[in-house]
């Protein structure tokens, strides 16, 4: 049977992708950030997941305002790298896991979560920057990826509590898939940042630190945090952090925190990263 072995959370700042793609990762501004992912890359080489279920948000790339799905699951065999206005990132095409994705879609919809099924979608930095941070710059990504796009651009996004429950439904679906697969679930976006208006540049390290702590030890309480607190404390784009709760909801109550990293700034954003391993 398929099983979820671990969860990963990381920010997905576009400038990180640009720094890597333009060979600037060794510069003083960027080096400390990439150092925080050295452990993670070695860890991934040892773990060798078959599939990553990757929770992210689209940034006005695949979804215009014509259609804004709250939850969209990518069921295609491959996903092209989007041109976000400066040409597609020079990274490998993303190979999907259509059989598992279809299985998850059917199971999760029957568990009362209304997923939108996507059979063609270009993926933007929200998905590719986490892949680069965790796997480096290979000629091909080392595993299949199921893109799972969450609306956090058009308010209101789904609540934290709903995201946590959705994670549990995704886990149930994966547990019932009849192939022996090592699956990781990733939650991306955040941490505190605001990209708009006179309050742009907001960073809240104490709040971010508490979020990381509670994500590990007390996700049920954390999931009850109302949206307004994210907006006030972590900035208007900090609301992306609800996506981390989907990841956490798919893990066991008991997890081992095997890595944590926090860094300010990457352009306008606080970068947070954590790896959680399922414990029995």
């Amino acid at each position: 049977m398929a099983r979820i072995s671990a969860g990963v959370a990381t920010s997905h700042v576009p400038a990180i992708g640009a720094a890597l793609d333009n060979g600037r990762s060794g510069e003083p501004y960027w080096a400390p950030l990439f150092k925080g992912f050295e452990f993670s890359k070695r860890w991934e080489e040892a773990e060798r997941p078959d599939v990553v279920f990757l929770v992210y948000n689209d940034h006005a790339t695949a979804f215009s305002l014509d259609l804004v799905p709250t939850f969209a699951i990518g069921c295609a065999p491959r996903f092209e790298i989007a041109d976000e206005g400066w040409g597609p990132r020079p990274v490998p095409v993303v190979e999907g896991a259509p059989e598992l994705a279809a299985h998850i879609a059917q199971s999760v919809i029957q568990d009362d979560f209304d997923l939108t099924i996507v059979n063609r979608m270009a993926v933007d930095h929200g998905l590719t920057v986490p892949l680069s941070l965790m796997f480096g710059q290979p000629a091909a990504w080392p595993c299949k990826v199921i893109p799972f796009a969450v609306n956090v651009v058009l308010y209101p996004p789904p609540s934290g509590a709903r995201c946590l429950r959705l994670g549990a439904a995704i886990r149930k679906a994966i547990d019932s898939f009849d192939q022996d697969l090592n699956v990781q679930i990733w939650g991306t976006g955040g941490m505190s940042h605001q990209l708009q208006g006179p309050r742009a540049g907001l960073i809240n390290k104490p709040w971010d630190t508490a979020f990381l702590d509670r994500l590990v030890t007390d996700p049920a309480t954390l999931a009850r945090m109302p949206h307004i607190e994210y907006l006030r404390e972590a900035g208007s784009e900090g609301i992306e952090l609800v996506m981390w709760l989907i990841m956490r909801g798919a893990l066991n109550e008991r997890v081992e925190e095997i890595h944590r990293f926090y860094h300010v700034p990457a352009s306008n954003t606080a970068v947070g990263h954590i790896i959680l391993k399922n414990q029995p």
């Binding site: 576009p14 400038a15 940034h59 006005a60 790339t61 215009s64 305002l65 014509d66 804004v68 041109d83 976000e84 206005g85 400066w86 651009v153 058009l154 308010y155 209101p156 505190s192 605001q194 990209l195 708009q196 208006g197 006179p198 309050r199 742009a200 540049g201 907001l202 960073i203 809240n204 390290k205 709040w207 949206h227 307004i228 907006l231 006030r232 404390e233 208007s236 784009e237 300010v264 700034p265 352009s267 306008n268 606080a270």
Partner: protein, 132 residues
């Protein structure tokens, strides 16, 4: 009954909710069109003519021409869509963020290097100092 929108009192912040989405639909879809190189070229060659192809308000068009991002946001623009405009101009997110805060890009970058803007005094309008 009006919906409760507690986020209306966050200083210097416009939450892109369903109502703003309705107002900004044409503006944001114009921005989406700039993801195609041919459209970027047409926009650059005559911005006004290109804008007139979209059912946007005159105020929205003027805000685009002036690159007044705060005004675009007030008129229903969303930052991820507006990013297509400054990308077309060859400008970064940090450039746009600095513009919106009224800081020079150098001062803004320095603020970020020092840990970013503190949330102190930035949580509610009409309370404390440092209000926008």
């Amino acid at each position: 009954m009006a919906l409760d929108k507690p986020y209306m009192d966050i200083p210097g912040t416009t939450v892109f909710d369903a109502d703003m989405c309705r107002r900004g639909y044409a503006l944001n879809q114009f921005c989406m069109s700039l993801m195609q190189a041919a459209n970027r070229q047409r926009f650059k060659s005559d911005e006004r003519i290109y804008l007139d192809e979209w059912p946007m308000s005159e105020a929205q068009k003027q805000a685009v021409l002036a690159r007044d991002y705060n005004r675009m946001i007030a008129l229903g623009g969303n930052i991820y869509f507006l990013a297509k405009i400054f990308a077309t101009d060859g400008k970064s997110f940090q450039h746009a963020a600095a513009l919106m805060t009224g800081m020079s890009q150098a001062d803004y970058a320095e603020m970020m290097l020092k840990g970013g803007r503190s949330p102190e005094g930035q949580r509610h309008t009409g309370r404390g100092h440092g209000q926008d």
